[in-house]
């Protein structure tokens, strides 16, 4: 990345859609992908006379997030109206939280590339409603409005301007992404817009304590876009400053197709939102009991789980980090370990290489994995107890993946049980040695590499089932004796 004595200063505003069944201020469903305007009730349409009623579940989720980032959960928070006109904003205002957010002053730790960790402050997180969607295609010069998304609950998570590179910003965003999914408060689906962010970017001379003028980059809905957009913005600002120009405070849009940021049209920018407390909603007051009940109900969080995996399973930090990327994956791993009789490292390898590889190949999520943890643990157990070799295990894994049943069933049906009986292996070795006198002679002349040839031939005859340890031992014995 460009440096030349410049230091980037980045803060992120992440919008996480909360996984409630109904909207934040109405009873309409939040499911994605329904035909336009079929999931918008009178309240979402902003009909005259309708009133908002706060969804308790959204509050509970925000509180859980606050507790997970060790923030201050406000005993009293206030909903405010953010006033601006836009066709997909039915009421002409968005209900949000302004002066008194539900969550304030938290933090998380991110891992840096050099292996160090860095604490990133989270200024606030507040509840708000999403707007609808404007559709500009297929309407013959007009725009269509889909209000299905209007009123969907969002948690806006605002970081301190403490991120110093695009990579740090991505690490931070990933960390929040993992966290909200652990907490079960957001599905984090970025394609559907359930998890997106705006980045505030500025640069200053290294050592300068004052912040430079920032630009806000909007519309970042993938980790890759966040990284690209921030890199671009940093480079743009440095180039501008070095050419003697000044950065203007503005909102810029990231265009992934052209891989650049550009200023939003002025009309899309509202200058004065005229915030004031929403008189339709009373201040949100949370009791100590409610907050403590949420605290007691928190799941094991990613950092704690990672530490435990290292300590309890003796895993390398890398493995622990991969396996703890999601709660589902970590649960899958632990289920496999239990079913394998405690084979922690082999299970880690199988999950990380085979399971994740196959999921990736088939474009599936861990929740759609065709084999369950018990099946994977059973497979590892059969390797450990010598029933099958590691090589055969891959065939068994693939068969399980295709739905042929658990490891024992596949081994049985396909006759893959390993031959560990010395006399049977010895008979195969004798055959191979008899058929290949030339190679035997070569070996005797000191060409040790030929050993691998014999192993391969015996394995072929056993159709892969010969116990490799026994085969090696017996082969050396016979050649030595010969």
């Amino acid at each position: 990345m460009t440096d030349k004595g410049w230091e980037p200063v980045i803060g992120l505003e992440i919008h996480a859609q909360l996984a409630t069944r109904s909207k934040i201020f109405s009873g309409a469903p939040t499911a994605y992908g329904a035909p336009p305007n079929t999931q918008a009730c009178a309240v979402d349409l902003g009909l005259p006379g309708v009133l908002p009623v706060l969804n308790r579940e959204a509050v509970r989720m925000a509180v859980r997030f606050g507790l997970a980032i060790e923030a201050r959960v406000s005993r009293r928070s206030v909903f405010a109206r953010k006033n601006y006109f836009y066709p997909d904003l039915p009421k002409g205002y968005q209900i949000s939280q302004y002066e008194l957010p539900i969550v304030a002053a938290g933090h998380i730790e991110i891992a840096l590339e050099d292996g160090e960790t860095k604490r990133v402050g989270i200024t606030r997180a507040h509840l708000e409603e999403d707007a609808g969607k404007s559709l500009h295609e297929d309407f013959h010069g007009m725009s269509g409005i889909d209000l299905n998304r209007a009123g969907t609950p969002l948690l806006e998570i605002v970081s301190e301007p403490e991120l110093r590179s695009a990579k740090e910003a991505v690490a931070y965003m990933r960390k929040i992404h993992t966290l909200v999914r652990y907490l079960g408060i957001s599905d984090g689906n970025m394609q559907e817009g359930s998890f997106r962010c705006d980045a505030n970017v500025s640069v200053r001379r290294r050592g300068d304590l004052r912040l430079g003028t920032r630009a806000e980059v909007k519309n970042l809905n993938s980790f890759r876009f966040v990284e690209r957009a921030i890199c671009h913005e940093i480079e743009r600002q440095i180039a501008l400053l070095e050419a003697g120009g000044t950065v203007v405070l503005e909102t810029r849009l990231y265009d992934p197709d052209r891989d650049e940021t550009r200023p939003m049209r002025e009309k899309e920018e509202a200058n004065d939102y005229r915030y004031f407390p929403d008189p339709d909603l009373l201040p949100l007051v949370l009791s100590e009991d409610f907050i403590e009940a949420q605290r007691a109900d928190l799941p094991e969080l990613p950092d704690a789980k990672r530490q435990r995996f290292i300590a309890q399973y003796g895993l390398p930090a890398y493995d622990a980090a991969v396996l703890c990327a999601s709660r589902e994956l970590a649960d899958f791993y632990e289920g496999a370990v239990a079913a394998s009789g405690g084979q922690a490292k082999p299970c880690a390898n199988w999950v990380m290489v085979e399971v994740l590889g196959a999921l990736n190949r088939d474009g599936k999520e861990i929740g759609q994995c065709p084999i369950n943890p018990r099946m994977l643990g059973g497979l590892v157990r059969r390797i450990t107890d010598g029933t099958i070799s590691g090589k055969i295990a891959k065939e068994v894994f693939e068969a399980m993946w295709q739905g042929e049943g658990d490891a024992d069933a596949v081994i049985e049906a396909r006759g893959l049980k390993q031959i560990s009986d010395d006399s049977a292996i010895a008979a195969l070795i004798d055959e191979v040695l008899r058929d290949n006198p030339t190679q035997v002679a070569q070996y005797r002349q000191g060409k040790e590499q030929v050993l691998a040839f014999f192993v391969g031939q015996v394995m072929k005859k056993s159709r892969g089932k010969a116990n490799p340890q026994r085969l090696n031992a017996l082969l050396r014995e016979k050649l030595g004796a010969g």
Binding site: L47, P48, V50, P52, V53, P87, R274, D280, L281, L282
Partner: protein, 484 residues
């Protein structure tokens, strides 16, 4: 038949002396005959009313009738009514047919009441004379050259002219009490939160409250029984048990402590009105009440505070009328900006636009602290004034309006003078208290209303005092000349 009160009609229906259909036809005929000269209705729903009346009669035959069953009423055109135009007195909503019923409409319908139609009002309830309506001004049945008050002028006029035995209204700064006063009828603004605001088109959300307009306090109690109560769809609705407001109507007033705020009897109060109020106080004293002079020192700030808070909230509440989803849309908009500007420019009347501009200004960056925030602080002072007063008295009494009904057009050119006509009612909304206006006499041949202000959720006490007063006076039974 139209001379009877709601309670008397209820008894007549109960005794089988009349039917709901007969009553409904009678009132519909009166509307047809008399309303062209009054303009109190925007919409008359005759067929629907007769259907509801026949259903009420059938229910009665099955033995399923309550005290309000089969009684006709009119709804202020600010309450959403499913399948019926809900205009709010505005061109903006002239084409708006609500797909749902307001909670108040739903409750009164469930109680068996028959909707005759929707009443005229100041546009979006912004006004004190019912002259800002897109459908033309409402006239005062006592003198057609005068205003009925506002914004619930259509409802007050309809009840005064006996075009309906009862009507609903809404009160943001006096919009039930002031027209009730000017038309010589009884009007109740309940405690903020007592009646659901769901389905009531919002003007100023922290001040708006629906209530009944009737001939008598007893009728108001019957209406309030059905209208009030907790509603989960309104987050500002009070979670309290329902009350029977008729239960304590006859309780004796012996020892009642009446507070007279000296600020309500100073300069600006018409002498004729003052005389009527003094006589009414004497009447109450004769019933056993004791008068105590009190102070509400921040009363003079209530109008400036109100004209920051109410416009601020309305500037936001009325943002939804943008021509995008429903209601008026300007012809052939060139682009989005043009759509907004012309839709709102053409769809709203002058007073509504004036208040939107005041409110937008008051909420703007750099002005918020000086206006909106300061107004909220003063609002607390006003509430504290009342709290202190209620430590010494049970009820506060004074005039509802400083004058009797004024002439049409008299104040339309001078908004400040118009705003001042709500001087005695506005602080009640700012404090969220219940208030009511009852007929107390006449000045210059026009009705004068007596205002009663109670403690939070003290509606029952107000109705009790008003009822006792109405047992020894007959102002509430006087009808305007020439309405038979």
């Amino acid at each position: 038949m139209h001379d009877l009160t709601l309670a008397e009609l209820s008894a007549a229906l109960y005794r089988g002396e009349t039917t709901s259909e007969e009553l409904t036809r009678h009132f519909l005929a009166r509307i047809e005959r008399l309303d062209p000269g009054l303009n109190s209705f925007v919409t008359v729903t005759a067929e629907r009313a007769l259907d509801q009346a026949r259903a009420a009669d059938a229910a009665r035959r099955r033995g399923e009738a309550g005290p309000l069953s089969g009684i006709p009423l009119a709804h202020k055109d600010i309450f959403c009514t499913e399948g019926v135009k809900t205009s709010c007195g505005s061109k903006m909503l002239d084409s708006f047919i609500s797909p749902y019923d307001a909670t108040v409409v739903e409750r009164l319908q469930a109680a068996g009441m028959v909707m005759l139609g929707k009443t005229n009002m100041d546009e979006f309830a912004m006004g004190s004379s019912s002259e800002t309506s897109f459908y033309g001004p409402v006239r005062n049945p006592w003198d057609r050259e005068r205003v009925p008050g506002g914004s619930s002028g259509g409802s007050a006029c309809a009840v005064a002219a006996r075009l309906a035995p009862a009507a609903t209204g809404t009160d943001t700064g006096g919009s039930i009490r002031q027209p009730a006063s000017l038309c010589g009828v009884t009007g109740v603004k309940p405690t903020y939160g007592r009646v659901s605001r769901y389905g009531m088109v919002a003007f100023a959300s922290s001040l708006d409250q629906g209530g009944p307009i009737t001939c008598t306090a007893e009728d108001a109690a019957l209406m309030l029984n059905a209208m009030s109560g907790f509603d989960a769809r309104d987050s500002t609705s009070a979670e309290r048990p329902d009350e029977d407001y008729t239960a304590g109507l006859d309780a004796a007033l012996t020892g009642l402590r009446i507070g007279l705020p000296k600020e309500f009897f100073g300069a600006g109060l018409d002498t004729g009105v003052a005389r009527v109020i003094e006589a009414a106080i004497k009447e109450l004293e004769a019933l056993g009440a004791r008068v105590i002079e009190i102070e509400l020192p921040n009363t003079h700030l209530s109008i400036p505070v109100y004209y920051v808070v109410a416009p601020a909230e309305c500037s936001s509440n009325l943002a939804r009328f943008d021509g995008v989803r429903y209601g008026y849309r300007c012809a052939a908009p060139a682009d989005l900006h043009d759509l907004y500007c012309r839709t709102r420019g053409e769809g709203f009347g002058a007073e509504v636009k004036r208040r939107i501009m005041i409110g937008t200004y008051a909420l703007s960056a750099g002005y918020y602290d000086a206006y909106y925030l300061k107004a909220q602080q003063i609002r607390r002072l006003i509430r504290d004034d009342y709290r202190r007063a209620f430590e010494r008295v049970d009820v506060i009494i004074g005039p509802t309006s400083p004058s009797v009904a004024f002439k049409l057009g008299e104040k339309t050119g001078d908004p400040i003078t118009m705003y001042l006509s709500d001087i005695y009612t506005i602080s009640v909304n700012l404090a969220g208290l219940p208030g009511m206006s009852i007929p107390a006499g006449f000045a210059e041949g026009l009705p004068v209303g007596l205002q009663l202000i109670g403690e939070h959720f003290g509606e029952a006490r107000l109705l009790n005092i008003a009822h006792c007063y109405q047992q020894v006076t007959d102002w509430h039974r006087r009808t305007p000349p020439g309405i038979d």
